[in-house]
Symmetry: D3
């Protein structure tokens, strides 16, 4: 199995609901350094899983719809805790939609919220 990964980032505000979140129930924010991994069992005729420039553009477009936002104000996240793992799925699913019929076999997205914590979501395509 082959994979290609590209890295970008977004900077958002949000808050969480639930006792488990402690001080993170207050409005705060995060930089998410985002790694998007594209998987494919065999390479295409050019020797690629996916063109890195195309992969980077697709990731930038998906993150651009979240970047510099307060996620508490986004209709898509009404009633949802935008945890790191939840956002990993949001980014992965939106990337899957954006890629369309790509010949890819799978996708994984990792969001690094700090140097000591990160979360991932992986799915088939």
């Amino acid at each position: 199995m082959f994979s290609v990964t590209v890295r970008d980032h977004m900077m958002i505000a949000h808050s969480f609901r639930g006792e488990v979140f402690g001080p993170a129930q207050s409005l705060h924010g995060a930089t998410y350094v985002v790694d998007a991994t594209f998987r494919r069992a065999t390479l295409d005729a050019d020797g690629l899983v996916i063109d890195i420039a195309r992969a980077a553009d697709a990731l930038r477009a998906v993150l651009g719809e979240l970047n510099y936002r307060n996620l508490d104000d986004e209709a898509d996240f009404a009633g949802i805790n935008t945890t790191t793992e939840m956002l990993a799925k949001v980014v992965a699913d939106r990337l899957a939609d954006a890629l369309g019929d790509s010949g890819l076999d799978g996708l994984a997205v990792t969001l690094h919220e700090s140097h000591v914590a990160w979360a991932s979501y992986e799915r088939p395509l």
Copy 2:
């Protein structure tokens, strides 16, 4: 599949038995930067794999029983080479015990012994 990872570290002394270890048969030491990855097929009601603070506390507690020790003096490791891969399993198994009935599906632990070498162990829960 979702995952959440937290990072911490420990600093230990130890030595190895066996020709294969060469100069590492002498008493020396290591900083292990430890990544503990928790896997879960679906998120809980709060949108979490595991609360990052709880995950970090669990990892710190497990590492606290090894940190600042000479592993050659620990009864648990009598007759065992405390290689990086062996210690990855020790940390993973102790974390699994500490977590109890967690709803998690799996666990992986990576110990970085330097910027150019690391080892992992993964297991179901």
Copy 3:
């Protein structure tokens, strides 16, 4: 000249005023991975610039007053753009106050706002 650096982080929300900030004029947020560097021309009697545990505690205390906050709501920052470089100075000056008469010669603080951008402030003590 000797130095010791410790790393920690904080997660905040904020917004900026001024055309130059473009989309960052909206409420958004950041994880700042913070490196605090303590400088001293000669080591103390224990062979230290500063005890790493004490340095880490001092940094955690200073970051704890900013962490999980919306900086737009903090009285200390009224009328101030809490840019990365400005916050580096805030953290450095608060650390200097907290350390008191420390025997240190200088201090530098770096805030990493992403994998591709960071800012620093350094000052004598």
Copy 4:
């Protein structure tokens, strides 16, 4: 499942054929920081997946045949685009050949071409 990873690097020149590659159709180059991961279901009698020194030597030998070369001039790559993902497979397959009958269960190789892009290939042994 256990794994051990070692890191090394190589510095090569090459060019690509195909419109998709845009400016990378010109002769340019790359540093590939290479991670080789060795997998094994159970540890050997010494408590090892593979001796890290042996793993590092095997990786260095494989990279040594590519390092400081213009890959466009290498007979092995005639008519092939030496993309990052393709080279990950080349390194993995050559490592597999070099290891011979190793008791290992699998191998993965990741080539980092920059701080924002990398590619991997994994295979059983």
Copy 5:
């Protein structure tokens, strides 16, 4: 003193002349991960050393004139070994020219050629 740093990269081919370079006398290549640091004694009216977006654009423009090139073919480098330290000066000097009358006090550029080697050049402005 304040500073702001932005990171980008370029991928080039080149060769060196001189016995000291050993196998690097052959045509090979490198990814340079480039950190450009802008220094200023006091912040401007917006609370900035330099706008990070402007800094990133300036660095991208300078690297864009080198990226995906064989530096052996560039007239600017005729008779010059394009070592990592030499290229750090080239990038710094071109950035200084591009910034014009910026109010900045200094500039430093670091080129990372691998995970184990990098070079820097710093100058006043």
Copy 6:
């Protein structure tokens, strides 16, 4: 001013004397990832601060005399706390001796003891 940095590592055991060290008074150990930075105002005739291979060899030789040792048993460190900052000076001074008449203007050595703590020593040559 130009600089070149090379990275290597060593793995040692040691203990500290003094209440300030808390649990680190026990025999434990550390991996030190070591960055040696060589400074020079102007480049030599080859366009170099120092040949990276020569710099790496010099660093490896100095670390080789400490690697895989229990520093508590080394005569050179009798009565000395081998703190990270103290060892940074030891490595820097030994490197300076090894380099001899090098044309270099200065030297800095950083020892990373974990992902969250490091220490440096810099000196003229």
